[in-house]
């Protein structure tokens, strides 16, 4: 079967998820490669979530939160940004290309931007090809 990238997206409840909802209710067409998980705040997204998504075969992970200054919980999105930068450095060291992990700010009114973002990320992942995690983990299964 031809390669269709899978994006796991963590969207904050207040801005990004509402923005994605707007894309839907506005009947915008965008790439169907995204699997959205709603969290209350982008500051809730633990590095474990991102690593687990990659481990279970996601070709890309997308994080969306409120624009800086707009966080429903004052500064959750700043915490998210700092963690994101650090974990991006780590996944790059682990052989996962930096572009597979993206962070964007999407407000509740930015349905169009959300649709474009998903399209662009899908394109990027098509160029990068499938994640190497599957081939890397399939090499040796030793436990009897």
């Amino acid at each position: 079967m031809s390669y269709r990238p899978t994006i796991v997206a963590f969207l904050c409840n207040w801005c990004a998820y509402t923005g994605a909802d707007l894309a839907g209710t506005s009947r915008l067409r965008y790439a169907p490669n995204i699997r959205i998980i709603r969290v209350m705040c982008s500051g809730r997204i633990e590095p474990t979530f991102i690593l687990k998504a990659f481990q279970q075969g996601a070709d890309g992970v997308l994080i969306c939160g409120c624009h800086p200054g707009d966080c429903h919980y004052q500064e959750g999105n700043y915490k998210c940004l700092r963690r994101f930068k650090l974990i991006q450095k780590y996944v790059d060291q682990m052989g996962i290309e930096k572009d597979r992990l993206q962070l964007e700010w999407i407000s509740a009114s930015e349905g169009r931007q959300f649709a474009e973002l998903v399209n662009n990320m899908t394109k990027t992942l098509l160029i990068l090809g499938p994640s190497k995690i599957k081939s890397s983990l399939e090499v040796e299964h030793l436990k009897q």
Binding site: E46, P47, T48, L51, K52, F54, Q55, P68, E75, Y78, K79, C80, L81, R82, R83, K85, L86, I87, K89, Y90, V91, Q93, M94, G95, I96, S131, K132, I133, S136, L137, V139, E140, L142, K143, Q144
Partner: protein
């Protein structure tokens, strides 16, 4: 634990084996000092390569389940480690992954940042002390006129012991504290206070910070991280507050915070606390809240001072972590 030799209770059979290990775990058993006599009073050592001359074939000839307790230290790096892990699993009633390498992969596990091929290339071709113009590399089997010579096969990955065989208990540490070994050994000999299978024993439920005596405040905002040699430690303030990364918040207590008492930041050999599968992710989460900047460029600058996240946050735990290895 009674050391009375007239104790009618039969001695338990104890085996200690090393996989990909430095030998420090075996020494930690000796570090029980005079308590070692108590261990020997209650246990017959049936197999311990560092101390006794017993061959693999002797172990293979033992009846199944005939060893009461096996302490297996070291990661699984090659087919010999794997073979012995499987043999000992079959022969043992209780198998314990002893030490950070058996538990999470340990220092040898950092080889998972490379592949077998890259490691061989470095070791047999590129290293400064190597003269190998024909690029000879070890082969598993080699024919000579007397017959076939063989050596263990070197795997591409380093594995934790639990990734190869079922494990009853885990004792973390690099090496585990000898006092903890005595406690666990006593529990196994008496059968009292043994937790369910799969538990981490000989360690606490709380993180290392809980037992740390350094001065801590709520002000953990950092403008720049330092490697330990870049800064003069004031010997009393929390390392993290000084900007030195200390794995305390993402590490199980139980070691007695010995590194910090010795004025060195925690490196995380006791593994993650209960409920967090991945010590590095836990630590990155904590560090994320400490970075004192909101602008992307400033954050980048601060993160640049964390030179090697994979090696720092996963020093003892790479094979046992979520990603497990570098994807190649």
């Amino acid at each position: 634990m009674p050391s009375d030799t007239s104790n009618p209770k039969p001695k338990i059979k104890l085996a200690i084996y090393w996989g990909a290990a430095c030998g420090g775990c075996c020494v930690s058993v000796l570090d029980t000092h005079e308590k070692l006599l108590d261990i020997v009073a209650n246990a017959d050592l049936v197999f311990w390569p560092i101390a006794m001359d017993i061959k693999y074939k002797d172990v293979e000839a033992m009846p199944d389940q005939s060893i009461d307790l096996t302490l297996f230290n070291g990661a699984v790096r090659n087919s010999e480690n794997k073979h012995m892990a499987e043999v000992l699993r079959k022969k043992s009633k209780i198998m314990v992954a002893y030490g950070a390498c058996a538990y999470m992969g340990g220092i040898p596990g950092l080889a998972n940042l490379y592949s077998k091929d890259l490691i061989f290339k470095r070791a047999y071709e590129e290293s400064e002390s190597t003269m190998n113009p024909d690029k000879v590399r070890p082969v598993v089997q080699f024919e000579v006129k007397e017959g076939t010579l063989s050596i263990p096969e070197f795997f591409n990955d380093v594995y934790t012991l639990n990734q190869i065989v079922d494990i009853d208990y885990f004792i973390p540490g690099c090496p585990p504290q000898s006092e903890r070994l005595i406690e666990v050994f006593t529990a196994i000999v008496t059968g009292i206070g043994l937790p369910p299978k799969g538990s981490v024993v000989g360690a606490l439920e709380k993180t290392n910070c809980d037992g740390c005596l350094r001065k801590k405040t709520d002000n953990k905002l950092i403008k720049r991280f330092y490697r330990p040699w870049e800064i003069q430690d004031d010997k009393e303030t929390c390392f993290l507050e000084q900007g030195v990364i200390c794995m305390g918040p993402a590490t199980r207590g139980g070691c007695g915070v010995r590194c910090v008492v010795g004025n060195s930041p925690c490196r995380g050999c006791y593994g993650p606390p209960p409920g967090s599968p991945d010590p590095g992710a836990k630590m990155m989460s904590a560090i994320g809240t400490m970075i004192d900047a909101n602008k992307p460029e400033e954050i980048d600058e601060i993160i640049e001072t964390i030179v090697d996240p994979a090696g720092l946050f996963y020093r003892f735990s790479l094979p046992g972590s979520i990603l497990g290895r570098k994807l190649l």
